[in-house]
């Protein structure tokens, strides 16, 4: 039994699931305290998110930006930097994509759509690169800089949506709701299963997940990013310019978040509006962590968290509990996943210690008593 629980491989799979379970158990207590029947609430949540075509497509729609953000998070964490700036990068990507598509609205769709998505990625990438360059050049803490860039992006969005980018129809009607003009139909992402709102962005996200896996583990660039992330001094010794790859990791993370913004604009809202980022910049971190910072692991993880978002809305309507509760459950999941990481790491270290006899770090140069023939 002891052996079983000490096996690091098994723990790595079992613990995140256990973390979800415990989070839901505590969430159940919260539901009960709010006067709802937890079993009924969870049944509504699960059946609402995954139980029918409508719920399932809604889940896939929510999954798309989560997965895109999570892919960027995988890259940045692997590169040893933490990107908390997803929200700001989504906003910048969405703003740039909207402005671009409205500006060149007469271009044919086959050209305008890919360019719009690209512009979104570039804008998010620039927003990430600012933090990346600050980190690489001046060693500015990227957690702080990305959080602050979120605030800047938010204010920029408020300004643009109330000023230069405000929908002329809103001005005419005198309502002044802060949103942009509707994008030309040519730039709308293809609906996959009408009448549901499922759009082709989900396919793009899935393809990119495979490509990010390929980038990180099959290319020299990914190898360098991972080396810099795990051991900058070994990277330096191997002739890799560590600062460049730190900046690159954050740039790519920003680009994926920016793309998520552009996909939300072209696939779901068809215009830029306040609240478009929808917290995906943070939930995406959760999904990436839950997926063990592996691009392919991020797919089921973002599916799960997308489903929780959809189910929470349904739950709110059915049992009259605030959907914000699901945010609390998400938070609990993160807490338990992160806590279980510590446990896995300890188990892994224990396994490593058993394998490696001679400790080098503590007292080098003392003659080892271990004698293995060459």
């Amino acid at each position: 039994m002891q052996r079983f629980f000490r096996s690091p491989r098994l723990l790595e799979i079992a613990l995140p699931l256990a973390a979800v379970f415990i989070a839901f158990a505590i969430g159940g207590v919260l539901l009960w305290l709010l006067g709802a029947n937890p079993l009924e609430a969870y049944w509504v949540l699960i059946s609402g998110a995954f139980g029918n075509l409508n719920g399932l497509t809604s889940t896939l729609i929510k999954m798309t930006p989560l997965l895109l953000v999570a892919l960027g998070i995988c890259i940045s964490f692997r590169g040893g930097v933490i990107n908390i700036g997803g929200e700001g990068q989504i906003m910048m990507g969405a703003l740039a994509a909207t402005a671009f598509a409205l500006w060149l609205r007469d271009l044919p769709g086959w050209l305008l759509l890919p360019l719009t998505l690209l512009i979104g990625a570039v804008a998010g990438g620039i927003w990430g690169a600012i933090a990346g360059i600050l980190k690489a050049r001046l060693n500015v803490n990227e957690i702080l800089s990305t959080v602050m860039l979120n605030a800047i992006a938010l204010q920029l969005m408020n300004f643009l949506l109330r000023g230069p980018m405000l929908d002329p129809a809103q001005i005419a009607a005198g309502t002044n709701v802060a949103q942009s003009e509707t994008l030309p139909k040519s730039v709308w992402l293809l609906r996959l299963a009408p009448p549901t709102l499922l759009h082709s962005g989900v396919i793009l996200a899935l393809i990119l997940a495979v490509l990010v896996y390929f980038l990180l583990w099959r290319t020299t660039i990914g190898y360098r990013i991972r080396t810099v992330g795990l051991n900058p001094s070994a990277a330096r010794y191997a002739g890799m310019p560590a600062p460049f790859y730190i900046a690159l990791s954050l740039t790519l993370a920003g680009a994926f978040a920016g793309l998520a913004g552009a996909v939300e604009v072209t696939g779901v809202q068809h215009r830029m509006l306040e609240g478009l980022s929808g917290g995906y910049g943070f939930s995406g971190i959760v999904a990436a962590l839950f997926g063990k910072l592996h691009p392919l692991g991020a797919i089921p993880a973002s599916f799960l968290f997308g489903g929780l978002l959809v189910g929470a809305d349904k739950m709110q309507r059915a049992v009259q509990v605030p959907s914000a509760l699901i945010t609390a459950i998400n938070g609990l999941v993160v807490m338990f996943v992160v806590a279980s990481e510590v446990y896995v790491r300890r188990a892994r270290r224990r396994a490593g210690r058993e394998a490696a006899e001679a400790s080098l770090k503590i007292e080098p140069n003392v003659h080892s008593v271990q004698t293995t023939a060459p």
Partner: protein, 514 residues
């Protein structure tokens, strides 16, 4: 029994004794039945090379480690320390090599940190400050109690640490390599303070590997080597050469089995190289070396005399303040580490777990660390896994790396096998210039022999090898010529045939023949 009080108002430690102390770490005995004692009014120097066990011994006295066997007595009474707090309560203080100060706080705040205030929940910084002024007056420890620590020089930080220990009532003070970070002037100031404390009845333990300081300041000297106490001797009639011999030992002189090769052209040259260490102190002073093809130049010396900086300068990891490095006559001083690698440099770093590998990577991922971006491992962008696996398996076989598979996480390998992995990666490129820093430190005997043979093979292939080692036996066994480094200077370069352990020991102690 009457207790004598120190000027700080705390009782003296007349006699502290450690008896038959044993401390084991996995695979090594760090302290092997060590006896050690210190008296009030005495400076007792604890001398030994890196890894000789001196820090481990003192950490047990300060309650950071617990002895596996043996006892500690204070004034004849057995004591047990479960933590540094216990040790502090018994009047023991330790000045660590790396200061334990909060930069943003003032000197007074740092001293008060972790102490109970006399005013309950409110700070009594004015009282602490007054006490600091008293202590600094009494012991000649010049320091401004109101200055934030980040504004202080290294020597001042050390004075704050000493005041902190005295404030906490230390009667016995352990100083771990206290002069390592000091300028000569600051070191002189420190010695004056230590003499003052000694006269006042403090007991002082001075950990070092600098022989000159030992002879200059201590009353008694204990030498540790390989975890064992070699000797404890009064500092009378002791010479640096005697101490150096005790420190490095020369009981097992390995037989030299290889013949000198006709040496080729100069492959690696350092011309007038000076460089600073991490703290900005000069570490290399005007070093000039030439290493020929098919030659191993051994650099002998007591650790901390510039060896690390020498290796890093050649590898391109450390900037020089003057001088230049040449490969095959080309000035490569401005070249990046990567460019030097491409030009035929291989480097076996001293801190192999930290610089040499990525612990989380698999064996094959670590094996490609230096040439992943060349054919056949990759086309510059895409990695070729077939080739990487094939070469991984070849190197594991050729270099006899004991690993379950090439996909095993490198961290789970033993030290000797990790070193063989690094050796495989570096030597399989058939380097023209090889820097091997402490290549067999902490490695078992079997792997050591294997690594030695590989280094000799590489010499046979025409490599110019810079072998840096604190193990004199290793240098005598492998090197064609031996350079001795002392305080960043090359004292002399002698051919192996003419070198004797005595002569090298003298040079390592900084003694030149008149």
């Amino acid at each position: 029994m009457t207790t004598t009080l120190l000027p700080t108002g705390r009782p003296r430690i007349d006699h502290l004794e450690m008896r038959q102390i044993v401390k084991r770490f996995p695979g090594v005995i760090a302290c092997d039945h060590v006896d050690f004692d210190v008296r009030a009014g005495e400076i007792h120097a604890l001398l030994g090379e890196n890894g000789a066990g001196k820090s481990t011994l003192m950490r047990q006295l300060y309650g950071l480690y617990h002895p596996d066997a043996g006892e500690i007595f204070i004034n004849g009474e057995a004591v047990t320390f479960h933590s540094p707090t216990d040790a502090i309560e018994h009047g023991i203080g330790m000045i660590h090599q790396h200061f334990m100060l909060v930069d943003e706080l003032t000197v007074t705040e740092n001293v008060a940190l972790g102490m109970r205030s006399s005013r309950g929940p409110f700070l009594d910084l004015d009282k602490v400050e007054a006490r600091i002024r008293e202590l600094s007056q009494a012991y000649g420890l010049q320091v401004d109690p109101k200055a934030p620590v980040w504004t202080l020089a290294v020597g001042e930080c050390q004075r704050v640490e000493i005041i902190k220990a005295l404030y906490r009532g230390a009667a016995l003070l352990i100083l771990d390599e206290p002069t390592a970070v000091l300028t000569p002037q600051e070191a002189d100031d420190l010695f004056a303070t230590l003499h003052q404390m000694k006269r006042d009845g403090h007991a002082l333990i001075f950990i070092t590997h600098k022989l000159r300081e030992v002879v200059a300041i201590s009353d008694r000297i204990s030498v540790l080597r390989g975890g064992r106490l070699i000797d404890t001797t009064p500092n009378q009639g002791v010479t640096r050469a005697m101490l150096a011999r005790m420190m490095v030992g020369r009981d097992v002189l390995l037989e030299r089995t290889h013949k000198p090769l006709p040496r080729g052209a100069v492959r690696l040259a350092l011309r007038g190289v000076s460089a600073a260490n991490v703290t900005g102190q000069p570490a290399l002073r005007n070093v000039t070396l030439e290493i020929h093809a098919s030659e191993i130049l051994g650099v002998a010396g007591v650790s901390g005399n510039g060896q690390r900086e020498l290796a890093e300068v050649v590898a391109g990891l450390r900037g020089m303040t003057s001088g230049r490095v040449e490969f095959d006559g080309h000035d490569v001083s401005a070249w990046s580490p990567g460019k030097r690698t491409d030009a035929g440099l291989a480097y076996i770093p001293e801190e192999r777990m930290h610089d040499g590998i990525v612990q989380e990577f698999s064996v094959s991922e670590n094996l490609m660390l230096q040439d992943y971006d060349h054919a056949p491992m990759s086309n510059g962008i895409l990695l070729n896994f077939g080739e990487i696996a094939k070469r991984g398996r070849e190197l594991v076989r050729d270099f006899n790396i004991r690993t379950p598979s090439i996909d095993t996480a490198t961290r789970s390998l033993s030290g000797g096998n990790i070193q063989k992995l690094i050796l495989a990666r570096e030597l399989s490129r058939d380097p023209k210039v090889l820097v091997a820093a402490q290549p067999t430190r902490g490695v078992d005997i079997g792997a050591t022999e294997y690594i030695h043979q590989r280094l000799l093979d590489q010499r046979g292939h025409g490599a110019a090898t810079l072998l840096i080692s604190e193990d004199l036996d290793e240098i005598l066994a492998l090197a064609d010529r031996i350079a001795v480094i002392y305080e960043g200077r090359i004292m002399d370069i002698v051919p192996r045939e003419e070198a004797t352990a005595e002569q090298l020991g003298l040079l390592m102690a900084g003694v030149t023949e008149e």
